[in-house]
């Protein structure tokens, strides 16, 4: 019995881990924002401030060979800029806290006649064995331009805390 128990305990931990109890990323919520619960399936994580500044993470599971980081950076840029009419204010490369390369797109868009800003960070990781697929992380943040400016330090801090698996 003791032998069985010693085998079952690590197995139980493995099952618990694979059942979605843990997210394939880690992000810290900055003071001034609160994490919203039960955001699945639209978001794996979402936090908001009282003034309407929001940060969210989407995780998309991709099959094998479904595009590299450049492809998804371009696809998301095309979607937001040319189809949704968002103004591309800037873009650049960056890395997650654990060193995964990513791409950042910064947009502006009027909502009800008022200027809003929206930032999208894209990261791509490859799943380990036995899967050959990859995982796309979309980190969105945005809100009214003036409020985002007030929260910029907190948003930068949250972005800098992101680790993706």
């Amino acid at each position: 019995m003791n032998t069985h128990a010693s085998l079952l305990f690590p197995l139980a931990l493995l099952v618990a881990s694979a059942s979605g109890c843990s997210r394939p990323f880690d992000i810290k919520t900055a003071p001034g924002l609160v994490e919203l619960q039960d955001q699945e399936p639209a978001y794996s994580y979402r936090a908001i401030s009282p003034e309407g500044v929001a940060v969210a993470v989407k995780v998309i599971d991709l099959e094998e060979n479904q595009g590299d980081l450049a492809f998804w950076a371009r696809a998301t840029s095309l979607r937001m800029h040319q189809l949704n009419g968002y103004a591309l204010l800037g873009e650049g490369d960056l890395k997650s806290r654990n060193g995964v390369p990513g791409h950042e797109l910064r947009f502006g868009h009027d909502e009800s006649g008022k200027p809003y800003v929206y930032t999208l960070r894209v990261f791509l990781t490859h799943k380990g064995w036995p899967s050959n697929g990859s995982r796309l992380f979309l980190v969105e943040s945005g809100g009214p331009r003036e409020e985002v400016a007030r929260y910029q330090h907190a948003l930068d801090w949250m972005g800098g805390s992101l680790e993706v698996d």
Partner: protein, 229 residues
């Protein structure tokens, strides 16, 4: 009437400057009153005898990203005025201005700096044939009117009724052709630039079939991000 329309230059740079053959006398730089056409300037810019000259009507439709729209609308209007043009129409998310043809390229370049251009459509419509044809028909109509007027002066009462009827028809035809020529002159002298601040039209979105393969892309943006209901 033969009309040659240049293909849309989506995403391409502005066309070369309009040919100078038509621009014998540039439009007056003075700004006309808002929401009014400037017939005087238009007639100055287009010669009466366009033989061998190519008469082009330039139009530009520019779509810009929806950001800081109010300021951009004002900027477009100011750019048009500075170029000697005027405001033709303005709504919440679009504006149409007219600029002297010689300032078309400069105005486009200045307007495009006001925002993030997502689509550009510039056309040059050749109306030379129509203009020359109208001019010839108008000349004949004047001759006909003068002839009928002479006949009317010498006609008996019974004949006069028929001549007056024909004179009325010719006069009406002359007014219609003069109106059309006036419109063409104005359109040639002042290029039309329309700037819209809207997402791409749904039919063009459907053309982007690549993105349809990944429907989750449609959930990106402020609409979903800030909707916490």
């Amino acid at each position: 009437m033969a009309k040659a329309e240049a293909p849309a230059l989506a995403g391409a740079p502005a066309p070369p400057p309009p040919p100078s053959v038509v621009a014998a006398a540039p439009a007056s730089p003075a700004s006309p009153a808002l929401l009014a056409t400037n017939d005087v300037a238009a007639s100055k810019s287009v010669p009466d005898s366009p033989h061998s000259a190519t008469m082009l009507i330039y139009t530009a439709n520019i779509t810009m990203a929806v950001y800081q729209v109010e300021a951009a609308l004002q900027g477009v209007e100011t750019a048009a005025r500075d170029a000697g043009g005027y405001l033709s129409a303005r709504q919440d998310t679009s504006i149409t201005v007219r600029v002297p043809r010689d300032h078309f390229d400069d105005a486009i370049a200045r307007i495009e700096k006001l925002g993030d251009v997502t689509h550009r459509d510039i056309k040059a419509q050749d109306v030379t044939d129509e203009f020359v044809d109208l001019q010839a028909r108008l000349k004949n109509a004047y001759v006909m009117r003068d002839r009928l007027t002479e006949l009317l002066a010498r006609a008996a009462v019974k004949e006069a009724i028929d001549i007056e009827k024909e004179l009325g028809r010719v006069t009406e035809e002359i007014e219609r052709m003069e109106g059309r020529m006036k419109l063409l002159r104005d359109q040639i002298a002042f290029s039309t630039i329309t700037v819209s601040f809207t997402p791409l039209a749904p039919d063009r979105v459907r053309e982007s079939s690549m993105l349809n393969a990944f429907p989750w892309l449609q959930s990106l943006g402020l609409g979903s991000l800030l909707d916490v209901h």
